[in-house]
Symmetry: C2
Subunit: 140 residues, 2 copies
């Protein structure tokens, strides 16, 4: 049967996960895309080229991120976190964040690897989702 | 490098996928949860117990569903579809939809299996997301 995850269990899902689905609101409609992320201090850190989600989150910074581990139809856990989009613009913090992401995802594209050498590159948006609430469910 | 999926490629992702992430709007905020589904005639068919997403979708029926195949950091494809939540209430259609879902997901819980024998059971909500637009990206 299904059961609720504790706060700690839900946070652990975010800690061990690599890909989350980020939900935001685009022109009044829901919009969901996968993101690679690094979870630290109750924030999901990620980066993105300019595009739909960044434009939307700048306008309406509320976000929902979802992670799961699905081992089978009867054995899975899923957590969602609600939070606030915050752009990281200080060069040192941008660079630190990108480098941590690259350590976790060494296969990121050469373009992104080049960017990490130059944290001030304006092309890539570096951001965090600062979590204010998590919840989750599991079965099995 | 990343490339856009064609409409056909995006639809094929929905056809072969089993779990989608459904985005909707709850109290003005994005909300994302995983759902098992069956894709047919440009609709995602699914079912749910009453709860947050159903209450939200009844109020604001616009939904976004996302599926992906992630083989690695540099080899993945993701599609999103935008559409309209429609509840399926006619007993025969409810029963047909649930039976198709059970054939695809034979491990669904006994409670859900019992419901399929009685399509008129009011506890479970049977619904479709009628897709009006798909898009997708891939790398590798």
């Amino acid at each position: 049967m299904m059961r609720m995850l504790t706060d700690d269990e839900a946070r652990r899902l975010f800690q061990f996960g690599r890909v989350a689905r980020l939900g935001c609101i685009v022109n009044g409609e829901p919009y969901v895309v996968p993101i690679s992320y690094n979870f630290e201090d109750d924030c999901l850190y990620s980066h993105s080229l300019p595009g739909t989600k960044i434009t939307a989150l700048r306008e309406n910074p509320r976000a929902c991120v979802q992670v799961d581990e699905i081992e089978g139809d009867l054995r899975w856990r899923s957590a969602i976190a609600f939070g606030q989009f915050q752009e990281i613009t200080k060069p040192q913090e941008r660079s630190d964040t990108l480098n941590k992401l690259l350590r976790r995802f060494p296969m990121l594209t050469p373009v992104e690897a080049m960017i990490a050498d130059d944290g001030s590159s304006p092309g890539v948006i570096v951001f965090r989702i600062k979590i204010d609430r998590v919840t989750g469910v599991a079965e099995g």
